[in-house]
């Protein structure tokens, strides 16, 4: 996807971004956020690149990446579904919801579907407790998913065949 001459090399974009920051090492987390936006995930190569650029040990970069759950070292699917595992959703059946989504997508939480369309993860409370149990897909909240049909309909919106129709 980066062979397109019109799209700037993401490493170059990342370097430009880092060069524009007043402080470098102190902004490691901000830089990682930006890098994850550019690459979709943070593989070893990107972590190594950042370590070199900031002149810090790559172990430090890895230490930070592996500490925070927001960062991922595995590539993600085109759409990322997150089941809310906050307490409010939990008491309104988020465990069941998670199992339902897992069975519909045929993957476990933390995995990506074979066609790279969906990744499934869990998240701690997104503050939409009134709609519990909820799932977000690419940041959009889908609430009151009380049965299999609700889940099916919510996921269908992200499948290419329905997106084309829309």
């Amino acid at each position: 996807m980066y062979n397109n001459p019109l799209i700037k090399d993401p490493y170059q974009q990342l370097d430009d971004y880092i060069d524009g920051l007043p402080y470098k090492k102190e902004n490691l987390i901000t830089i990682l956020h930006h890098a994850q936006e550019l690459f979709g995930y943070l593989p070893d190569k990107v972590q190594w690149h950042i370590a070199q650029k900031l002149d810090i040990p790559s172990a430090k970069v890895y230490g930070v990446v592996s500490f925070y759950s927001f960062f991922t070292m595995k590539p993600r699917g085109q759409h990322v579904a997150n089941v809310c595992m906050g307490t409010a959703c939990f008491v309104r059946g988020s465990e069941k919801l998670q199992q339902e989504i897992e069975s519909q997508l045929g993957i476990k939480t933390g995995q990506t579907t074979e066609d790279q369309l969906f990744s499934l993860d869990s998240v701690r409370c997104i503050g939409a407790c009134g709609l519990a149990p909820v799932m977000t897909v690419d940041g959009k909240v889908h609430g009151r998913l009380d049965n299999a049909e609700d889940v099916k309909q919510a996921l269908a919106k992200y499948r290419p065949e329905t997106m084309r129709e829309a």
Partner: protein, 627 residues
């Protein structure tokens, strides 16, 4: 347009007052242009309503009003959270004083037609009290016992417009602090008010400011802790989304009192809308000269920067948060030195929570005496609770300290969903405990919650009914702490995992009575030997459920049954003689463990049963029971 001095601020306020003139005025609905001024439709833009397409509703309303030629008479605005999330999306019309609930994009045409063209209320969108079946257009029972101080502007002003905040007395407290008060008198005022940290610890805010301001230092920092990690709490998010300027103003006040020139807002990256509104607010404040150099013509300089969290619960702990801002792993460090002495980059740092900050401007404007007249002896003011779970009115509730759980859950929250029976209320998130029925009438404050084995925490309040298994709830919280333990202290890293394993064993029906002793013993060790609040409070969900719901643990261990019918391994499905032999269940059983001939009662082979419940869901005669 930089505001050069207080006079400029007051002139702008006078000019902006017109923006709010229409609001909070009780006025019977008459004709569309009764007052000759545009009417306002305030569409809730809080998290819940936003997720239920409230921006779409606002867009459709604008288009429809435009088509009907009403766009110069009616203005559509997006606000922060109304608090009544259960009935979202919500919108309120001023000055008519009408609140519509459960609005969808399909209702837009009707609202414009009936409310604005025909000039009558759209009855079907009014709130109906489920008990009395009375319709309410305003003054809903949900708001009766509430006192909104921290949430004062949420749903009242449009958060993306600084002039609305200024019209609502915004930045007046800052002007008072800069020109009429000294730093020490500001700190004294906050101390006198009795305000305590709303993030969970309950440390007196004024004392924290005083400690940070002491001694010689070239640089000091103010940090706003918006890393709201407690699952089930969303008040900080709502304040930032609904009234971001109040937090900026409070940070400025803290900065001037302590002698800091730089502030950071550490916010979860999972809160994109809050970040967006905060960034707008910061840009506007800079544009009006309320952030930057020579604020309002004084010699005070202050600026604010947003820092993103990256999903680590422990970063809510102040030393861990500081390490995270410094770009490191968010592990807590030993106190002392406290951040007030050596914080961010070794400089004195004051870390306050969002809700704490939101209380500051009203305290400065109305005085410490007013604030301390609200609440209990040791806990002053109000507290925002995120009321959720099995309660009818899920939402954000702000009540004076000392309000009882019964008032919050039954009077404001409208009681338990589906007329079930109240079992427990969980406060304080993963650090808190479960409060049983016998303490429903305890006035809530920092001390009383601790004395009954829970804590205030950031204000999550999850209501549970008799279909919730308390052992499973304890397990849920332990799973959370196992995930979120940063790994630094062995007691917390290994201990929480062992606790979780024992709980799993119990929920699977493999527990023994010795396990209860191990749980208690291990819990005490973890509490005593962990470095930070996360580990010290991680066993609380277990200890409180063991104390108040011991019989449920015993049922799991001795009777091998789960009274709430939640723990799968302990459930048994049985077909009663109501069975007509329709064979529907056999077709849906994934384990093929139901046998029987047509028109004869069927039988479940318990050894092979997966306990999925598919047969019970499908049975049309209610012949399958779970016990």
């Amino acid at each position: 347009m930089k505001l050069k001095d207080t006079t400029a601020l007051n002139t702008l306020k006078a000019q902006s007052l017109a923006l709010l003139e229409n609001r909070r005025v009780t006025n019977p609905i008459t004709t569309p242009d009764a007052q000759g001024k545009p009417r306002h439709i305030m569409v809730c833009g809080g998290t819940g309503c936003h997720a239920s397409d409230s921006p779409e509703i606002a867009k459709h309303l604008k288009e429809e009003l435009d088509q009907r030629g009403l766009s110069d008479q009616v203005e559509v605005l997006q606000t922060g959270c109304f608090g009544f999330c259960e009935k979202g999306p919500i919108l309120e019309i001023h000055p008519d004083n009408v609140l519509y609930v459960d609005v969808s994009t399909m209702d837009v045409v009707d609202i414009v037609e009936e409310h604005f063209i025909q000039g009558k209320r759209l009855e079907r969108l009014l709130y109906i009290d489920p008990d009395t079946e009375k319709r309410f257009a305003s003054d809903l029972p949900f708001y009766h016992n509430q006192l909104r101080i921290a949430l004062r502007n949420c749903s009242y002003i449009a958060p993306e417009e600084i002039r609305e905040y200024i019209a609502a007395d915004g930045y007046q407290a800052l002007a008072k602090v800069l020109f009429k008060m000294t730093p020490s008198s500001v700190i004294e005022e906050i101390k006198k008010s009795g305000l305590r940290g709303r993030g969970g610890g309950g440390f007196p805010t004024g004392v924290k400011w005083e400690l940070t301001g002491q001694g010689e230092a070239k640089q000091r920092y103010i940090i706003c802790n918006a890393d709201e990690g407690d699952p089930g709490a969303f008040m900080d998010r709502s304040i930032l989304e609904g009234d971001p300027h109040s937090v900026l103003e409070a940070m400025l006040i803290a900065g001037s009192a302590i002698g800091a020139a730089h502030g950071f807002i550490y916010i979860r990256a999972e809160y994109p809308l809050a970040i967006h509104r905060l960034q707008i607010a910061i840009n506007q404040a800079r544009e009006y000269g309320l952030l930057g150099e020579g604020i309002l013509g004084s010699d005070f300089c202050f600026d604010v920067e947003i820092k993103y969290g990256a999903g680590a619960f422990v970063c809510g702990e102040e030393t861990a948060l500081i390490h995270s801002i410094e770009g490191a792993r968010g592990e807590p460090s030993v106190k002392p030195p406290f951040p007030a002495q050596q914080g961010l980059w070794g400089k004195p740092t004051c870390v306050n929570n969002v809700e704490t900050f939101a209380n500051i401007p009203p305290i400065i404007l109305r005085g410490a005496e007013w604030f301390s007249s609200i609440g209990t002896e040791k806990s002053k003011g109000t507290k925002v609770f995120a009321l959720a779970g099995k309660v009818n009115n899920v939402g954000l509730v702000e009540v004076p300290m000392g309000t009882t759980l019964r008032q919050i859950i039954f009077d404001i929250g409208g009681g338990i969903k589906h007329h079930k029976i109240f079992k427990a209320a969980q406060t304080g998130g993963p650090s808190g405990g479960c409060i049983p029925t016998k303490y429903l009438d305890t006035p809530i404050d920092y001390e009383s919650l601790i004395s009954i084995g829970s804590m205030m925490g950031s204000g999550g309040l999850i209501v549970m009914d008799d279909s919730d298994c308390m052992v499973n709830i304890a397990k849920f919280f332990l799973e959370f702490t196992v995930d979120e333990s940063c790994g630094r202290c062995t007691a917390c890293r290994v201990g929480t995992k062992r606790l979780h394993e024992i709980l799993t064993k119990i929920t699977e029906g493999k527990g023994t009575l010795d396990d209860l002793d191990s749980l208690e013993k291990l819990s005490k060790i973890i509490k005593d030997t962990s470095l930070c609040g996360l580990g010290q409070s991680a066993p609380n969900p277990i200890l409180s459920t063991l104390e108040y719901f011991r019989d449920e643990y015993l049922a799991h261990i001795v009777d091998k049954s789960c009274p709430a019918g939640v723990c799968k391994s302990l459930l048994k499905y049985k077909i009663t003689d109501k069975c007509k032999g329709c064979t529907l269940c056999t077709k849906h059983c994934p384990a093929n463990c139901i046998t029987g001939s047509v028109k004869e009662p069927h039988i479940i082979d318990e050894d092979r049963c997966l306990k999925c419940g598919a047969c019970m869901e499908k049975c049309r005669f209610g012949a399958i029971i779970r016990h």
